[in-house]
Structures are given as C-alpha cells and as structure tokens.
Symmetry: C2
C-alpha cells in the first residue's frame, strides 16, 4: 500500500511525529494507566504548560478538554449565554454554532454575508450584543478568514460582551491577542495533526464569572462538562470523565515538537506555502481563488473554484498520492479545498503545486 499525503482540511495528514509518539505511548502502556493517577496528571499539566507557552495564553485563562469543537459550541451557549448571542456567519461551520444557540432556545442573531466573504461586525445590532459575540476566525467550508482587526474592533465597540473565536482550522498559525477576546477553541485533527476525538477550550475568568452568575440565577449549565466542573477538575490536572487520554498525550508531545520548531518558523512557512498555493490557482487556466478579496483569504485552508468537476481534479491528484478535499455542501463539485497545516512541508506543497499545474 503506497502512502498518500492528505491535504484535506480536517481530518488531515497526521503531524509527522505522531506515529512515533503513539508507539511510545503504547510502550509506556499509557492507555492502561489510571486517569486519576500521577502519570496522567503530569501529562495533563505538561500539555497545558506547552499550550500556554505556544499560544501565549494569559494567566487568567483556563485550558480545558472536551471531545470535539462541536461539543464546545453547546457548552459555550449553556455556560455563557442567558438570552442572546450574536454570530458572524461566514459559512457552514459558523452557521452551525448559530444553530446550536437557536436549538438551545436562545435569541440568536445571525450576521450573514455572501459565501467566500466575511460578515461585518458593523452590522451587529447593539441591542443584541450584550452577552456573547461569536466569530469564526477561519471558515473551513469556504476558506474565508475574518481579519483579527474585526475581532478587536468588536471588542472595543461592545466591551461588555464576551468574545468567542473559533480557531479550529487556523490555530496555531493565527496570532490572536487573547487579552482582547474571552474564549477560543479548536479540535486537534486539523493543524495539530492528531487523530480526531479531542476538543480544546480556552476560557478566561470573565467566562467563569458569567457561568457563575447564570448558575446563581438558577440556569442549568449542564453536568460533568459545565464550566465550573471542568475548571474544578482542571485545577488538579484532571477531567470530570475518563477522557481521550491518548489524545491528550499526543497533544502534549506535538505541542512540545511545535515549540521546539518555533511558532515563528511555522508561521513563516505557512505564509510561504499559502503564497505559493494562491499564486498557483490564480495563474491556473482552470482554477481561481473562491475568496475574491485577498484580505479575507485564509492562510491555512485554500479554496479554489474549478472549471473542471472537482471529482476529476481529486482523482487526478489522488492517482499521484495527493489527497485534497472537494467543496463543502453546495460547492461540492465546484471547489477543491487544500489544507496548509503545520505538518505540510514546503516540499509537499511544492509537489502538490507541480501536479495542480499539470491539470486542465
């Protein structure tokens, strides 16, 4: 069986060190050890310390583990919203967070935009913006990235609202000042290059205060994964339930690997690779970037409109062992999506570009 390279936007190629870390975990019999014992607690602590350093996390933030980013949508609404939330909807994933709030009975406001663009914080109704404003930094379905200046502007304009930022497919590339937002979250099967099944939720003390206030008003915050329960357990480097221990172990190791490589270096390489990808699809006879306005273009998920049916493009690349994603939802046949994550080397992207240039 020949080995493929996965440029799909999540799940994606495993970070290149993951296989060795899994083998080491098995050798140490880590999955058999108690999640209440010292080896797991040390692993939890080390993971949190690595993430604090890598992502420059302020001390008033807690780092919590859930099973997915999808779960975090539910937990944010349950724990941080009494009545109203505002969602800047740039595509299918930000739409699902909005829908989560609706499904939980909240008065959710959607600020929409044409797909391939980004909604404007200026359209937010100030009457609605008292509790939570939700941004999706990088919309994996369309390749549109919200400029972080928009996020900071919303903070200035609505200082009382909690600002939540979905960084699922842009972390650790995105350089966000966490002092100017209140909670960010991601899952690990994208740029961290880990097997799926783990969500990472960073929340500051303002979110905790909000959760406590809601609880005092008699609202139900959930049970084992309420913010107070998660934060209490995290205080002793534990989780309320038996968690995806192997996932946390691998996140520990890969965040350490990324620290050793250096985030500046990862960011520089990401920009080199994205420049090459956008140049290639702009110059290509059959492709063009879906996101027209370059200030909205994602550096980590590059989406191309294709005149050739996307399945044909996928098949041609696949025959060379290069796996890219088709379009999302209604764009399935008209788009291809290419992940440009930390694990994708310059050489791999150059190889992909060579093959893209042979198409059409």
């Amino acid at each position: 069986m020949s080995r493929n390279i996965y440029f799909t936007p999540g799940p994606s190629e495993l970070y290149f060190t993951v296989e060795d870390h899994i083998k080491q975990a098995l050798k140490e019999q880590f999955p058999s050890q108690s999640h209440r014992g010292n080896s797991f607690k040390k692993c939890f602590q080390s993971t949190v310390e690595n993430l604090r350093e890598l992502l420059n996390v302020p001390s008033n933030y807690h780092i919590l583990f859930t099973s997915s980013a999808t779960e975090i949508w539910e937990r944010i609404i349950q724990n941080c919203v009494e009545r109203q939330s505002v969602h800047l909807v740039n595509g299918a994933f930000s739409q699902r967070f909005y829908q989560t709030s609706v499904d939980l009975g909240k008065d959710a406001e959607k600020i929409a935009c044409a797909e391939g663009s980004c909604a404007s914080w200026k359209d937010i109704d100030p009457e609605h913006a008292n509790e939570l404003i939700a941004f999706t930094h990088n919309e994996t379905s369309t390749g549109a990235a919200q400029p972080i200046e928009d996020i900071y502007a919303a903070r200035e304009k609505f200082p009382d609202a909690l600002i939540a930022v979905d960084v699922v497919s842009s972390i650790p590339y995105v350089n966000l000042d966490l002092d100017r937002v209140d909670t960010i979250y991601f899952s690990v099967q994208k740029s961290f290059g880990l097997p799926a099944g783990l969500g990472v939720w960073l929340v500051n003390d303002r979110c905790m205060e909000k959760a406590n206030a809601l609880q005092q008003k008699g609202l139900k915050l959930g049970t084992y994964h309420s913010l107070p329960s998660l934060v209490k357990q995290a205080g002793s480097y534990q989780t309320p339930e038996t968690p995806n221990m192997l996932g946390i172990y691998l996140l520990d190791k890969v965040s350490r690997d990324m620290l050793q490589k250096g985030l500046d270096q990862i960011r520089k390489e990401t920009e080199y690779k994205s420049t090459l990808l956008y140049y290639t699809i702009e110059e290509h006879a059959s492709f063009k970037p879906f996101v027209k306005n370059s200030k909205f273009r994602s550096q980590t998920v590059v989406v191309a409109e294709t005149e050739i049916d996307s399945q044909e493009v996928v098949n041609q690349l696949s025959s060379k062992g290069l796996i890219v994603g088709k379009g999302y939802g209604k764009f399935k046949e008209q788009h291809i999506r290419i992940a440009n994550f930390a694990t994708h080397s310059k050489e791999q992207i150059e190889m992909l570009v060579d093959q893209l240039n042979r198409i059409g």
Copy 2:
C-alpha cells in the same frame, strides 16, 4: 522498561490485539481520512454489525457513539426524562448518574443500600416510576453486581417506565435480554480493552418515542448529541461531529476478535477466573471479599477487603509487574480492586493469584 499487566478496573490492560490494530490503522492512514467518506462509513457499519451480533442486539435498537459513559448519563436524562427518574444506587458511579439527574433539575429518587450490596427494586415508589428506572449492573466502585432478575422484575412491575442499564464494567460478559430493557451503555476502556475516549449507547425505539414526545412538549434535548440527531446521523453510518474515529476503528476490530473467539468462551473463562479470584481472597489470611452476599458478587470486578494497607499490597504486586487498583473513595486504603476482563488470560490471573498468596 519492563511490561506490566494492568488488572485495574478501567482504564485497564488493552485487549491483546489492540497494538496490532493501531499499527494497521496508521498504515492505512485511517486517522487522516474524512469522517464523511466511505472508509469511515464502512468502519461505522462494520462496528455496528459486529456489536449487534456479539451482544445479540434486537432490530429495534440503535447503536450510537458518544465520548464517554459519563456523557451518556447526561444525554439519557436530557432525552428520556421530563420530570422524574429513579436510580438504584449501589455505589459511587450509580450515585453520579443520580446526581446528573438532580443537576438537570429533575425530581430524582434514590434507592440506596449499604455499599457492597445492591439496592432493591421493591423499594421503588410506584409514584416515581413512570419515566425512567436506572440500574447499574456492575458497580465498579464496590464490586457489587445487580442480579439481572432484579432488572427483569422491575420491568414486569413498571412496564411503562424506560429501563436503563449501565453495563460499563460488565459488558460483554453480562448476558442481558435487551428485549426486557430499553437502553444500555458502556465505555470502551474496561472489558473491551481499548484506549479511553469513546462511549457506546444502545437505545430502542421506546427511548426515541420518548425523546420525540419531549421535543413536542417544547423541552430542549440538547444539540448535536440529542437522540434524534445521533439516530439520524447513524442512519447513514455517521456521527454529528468529527468523532473519535480511531476508537471506533479499534472497537470494530476488537468486537470482531471477540466474535471469533466466541462470547460463550469469554464468559466461561470469566467465570473460571472469577471463581479462582474469589476462592483466593476467601482463603487468604489478610483478605476477604467485600461483597458478602455471593449473589451480588461481580464476575468482572473483584473487590477484596484487606487487613494490610492497600498501598502496601499494590506495591508488592507492582514490584512483580502486576498492577491492581486501590479501593474507591472512602475505601481507598481498605480495599483492592481487581479487573477480570476479557483480555485477562487465565495464565495472567493465575500469576496474580500466586502473588496474592505470597502476601501477608
């Protein structure tokens, strides 16, 4: 590093085929493939088919995946209880399910008993037993197992209530007639011998009807992991979120391995091993079974009272590479807990018994 054998009651020793299956999954690059693609859907379908065969699951049951059994407690209450639930509480884990119902604002009734024994269904207040009766078949904290005849008796007495059975640490050994209950659930890090981070939830159509009725009354069932959402996605062999794909892959393979070995054989071996363990602790100068009434004794988690401090026992066994659990909660120092799961061979249990006999 010398290899230990983990007899801890979860996480526990990995099923003996797991390492090879993980290596194969990595070779196939399974974790990089889309959870919306055919390879994952085939894996989901195969897992469900294996579990249906292994556990003799009736056709009116759905098989669903969550992140833990702890999560399933929350989802059962959200989806199947409007006002009242009844909980037979035999120890710390059944207590936590009861507490989950309380935390979600329900009028939960607790039928308690002395630890090391089992609560009686005869103590259930018929006024409370209209919606859900929750049994914990095997209380991992004390080693007490509820006789399945009690469960069937409650069904006869309260035919309108849904019967939920926690089989976390007794599946696949427990031989439960699923036509006489409505939902069972477990996590995979116990007798299935998998890395933690996956819950398996079996629900019949009566549970679905209840969830639909609650929804029509305007209750919130949750969002991505509401029963209707899980069942809808499972209909096309998918999950609402990106799940623990590797966990599902391994469950597929290990349930196939168990089918090939045969559940009758696994059950016979379990009983041989438990007989040996109980005989050993009954005859031992320093140990005796915590569960006095043999009809309440678990076959899969054997708990011994120890006159020697449990840490000392654990240390002595550990020096031989044999890892057993200490007591749970307040029994930490007075008990040891020994898992007797499908992966523990007769030879391993005999080795443990030899060492137990050298203690004291």
